[in-house]
Symmetry: C2
Subunit: 345 residues, 2 copies
DNA sequence: GTGAAAGCGCTAACAA
DNA sequence: TTGTTAGCGCTTTCAC
């Protein structure tokens, strides 16, 4: 009585129809949960699928139906929590609606991003998630042309659907906190190519806050090539050895801040007595570091969820908030304190 | 002279053929880099593609060619470096060969994993990457049936292609290190369902090493539900308040170890004088913690690379090493030290 | 409620 | 080197 399919023969919908004694149209209806199929036939089809070990061919379905049930996501890199966390949330969310994620990385490069988006479009993605708001000039053109719902994350952008926070504002808040503590000499450690809008917004925010206080950010104190903790640590050494050693250091994320703190400690600087350091994101470990980190708490998971919700709603023809502004929260901890009194003189 | 395609009309290969004045077969040849096309025609086709803004339809290509140029990956979760790091490396590697990654998460559940694999198969993945070696009974059956090259990661497994390390051995080494320091009362903090072979192998490794020293692991000292740093911290409190407070605590990864250390510190235990704690993975920050962490260094990126290389080689009909055993390295730092002398009497 | 039949957009023999 | 043609496996009118 064994009905095992021969291993070499790929069973198709036709085989199922044949076995169930119905037409391919009916099989298709059952597969797609169409209401109008007589229960007895439905059962017959389901049994045939089971017995034959039928696996639907999505390429064929996509071709015929013009929907891939696939959503694309392009992030700068998977190698940091900053993106992998929201992506995890995003994926879980779209998954609940039956979508599968096609994932690509841009490596922080707009050209690569465009290429990846093009490829995803070739695969027929039904919707797309992007990070940031500064892309290749032709990227939005292509997306509009294909008529694919798309949302930007991490930055807000009045021109397009987006979910994120106001990086300028967040950096301003952080800077204000440090200014209130009496700091006058600032430094910034980030890891980013110039194309990164989130980071450049933050730098702008810091610069504006400084300007409002009659201060400026020394160019020599702006380090924008630190991606890892060790790179931040080394950057900090350079800062301390530089022409204008800061008393307040604003870092792009908590890991970089950790690296900066390590360097300071290795130079026997006391935190926060001699130097104040801030992070960004409020990773789980931030509060547990030797010097609990002052940082901006952002809801990483929420970004992914909101992005998914927007896309899913749009795909369903529902309306969803096009702009979602998340509000980062300043968390003041022990890594920041009053500026040291001028040492000598 | 504007040749902008009308936004509504999807341009197909036929349109390109028409415009270039060749057959669809020739367009297909150009698209696929077939050598035998006269340069003049090739150029004509390329120009037509450009002018029409042609985007290939991969669903159609997949259907016709029976190759999707897609590789599937299923990981327990994206939300931890442990998997997102190797995945990043994997993705980069397959990408260089023109493949796109279809990503799914199992959430540590074999049933979910099977479902996800089935879905990926529906999408026609050409190859598959899995984590671990304990899956749903029908998973390998399905893969074999579909004849899809597949590799397991993080664990080695003689039955199937795999790349990973010997978790039992690694845990044994760690345990031996602690035994040599005179520890007698051990605890283990991991976050994992029972299905997780990597972790259960490690527990086995620890148990065996203990047994060899005439010791056992108190069941009350085995905590297997700590995924986050804070959960590890709380687990540690329970351990310290438990019937058999350990002097040596083996944690599933560096983040958990960090949490455990925090709890110990909050109870005014000195590390490593009063208690020794170990991690796993050697994350970048491990050496910079207040108490630099003794841990096993594993090449997370390498796992992804090797997996990708194996799959790509297999897809090309080349042979590649079917088993790759990576060797974790014991890194001894300040979080472990001699067992405290028995306190009271 | 069901089936027949016409594609979806591409590749791959096969012929020329 | 090139074109013709027959599918790939599904969905989806449109009749019935």
């Amino acid at each position: 009585m064994s009905d095992k399919p021969s291993p070499s023969a790929r069973v198709s919908l036709d085989d199922v129809a044949l076995r169930a004694g119905v037409s391919t149209a009916t099989v298709s209806r059952v597969l797609n949960g169409s209401a109008s199929v007589r229960p007895s036939r439905r059962e017959a089809v389901e049994r045939a699928c089971e017995e034959l070990g039928y696996v639907i061919n999505r390429a064929a379905r996509t071709l015929a139906s013009r929907r891939s049930m696939t959503i694309g996501a392009v992030v700068p890199t998977l190698a940091t929590e900053t993106f992998s966390r929201p992506l995890a949330a995003f994926q879980q969310q779209i998954h609940q609606s039956g979508y599968t994620m096609l994932l690509a990385s841009s490596d922080f490069d707009p050209d690569t991003e465009l290429k990846e988006v093009n490829k995803l479009v070739e695969y027929g993605i039904d919707a797309l998630m992007l990070v940031g708001n500064s892309h290749h000039p032709r990227l939005w053109e292509r997306i509009a042309q294909q008529n694919i719902p798309c949302i930007q994350t991490f930055s807000v952008d009045a021109r397009y659907p987006s979910v994120g926070y106001d990086n300028e504002l967040a950096a301003g808040e952080l800077t204000a906190h440090l200014l209130a503590l009496g700091h006058k000499v600032f430094a910034v450690i980030v890891g980013t190519p110039p194309s990164n809008d989130r980071v450049s917004d933050r730098i702008t925010g810091t610069r504006q806050a400084l300007a409002a206080a009659g201060l400026t950010l020394d160019e020599a104190n702006l380090i924008n090539s630190a991606f890892t903790m060790n790179e931040a640590r080394e950057a900090m050494f350079r800062l301390l050895d530089g022409p204008n050693p800061p008393t307040a250091v604003i870092c792009g994320n908590d890991l970089l801040a950790f690296g900066a703190m390590r360097a300071a400690s290795e130079r026997y600087l006391r935190i926060p007595n001699d130097i104040s350091i801030t992070g960004f994101n409020d990773y789980e470990y931030a509060e547990h570091l030797e010097h609990p980190l002052t940082t901006m708490r952002v809801e990483l998971d929420r970004i992914g969820e909101v992005a998914a919700d927007y896309l899913l709603a749009t795909l369903n023809g529902e309306t969803a908030p096009v702009q979602t502004l998340l509000k980062p929260e300043l968390i003041v901890r022990g890594s920041t304190g009053s500026a040291p009194r001028a040492a000598k003189g």
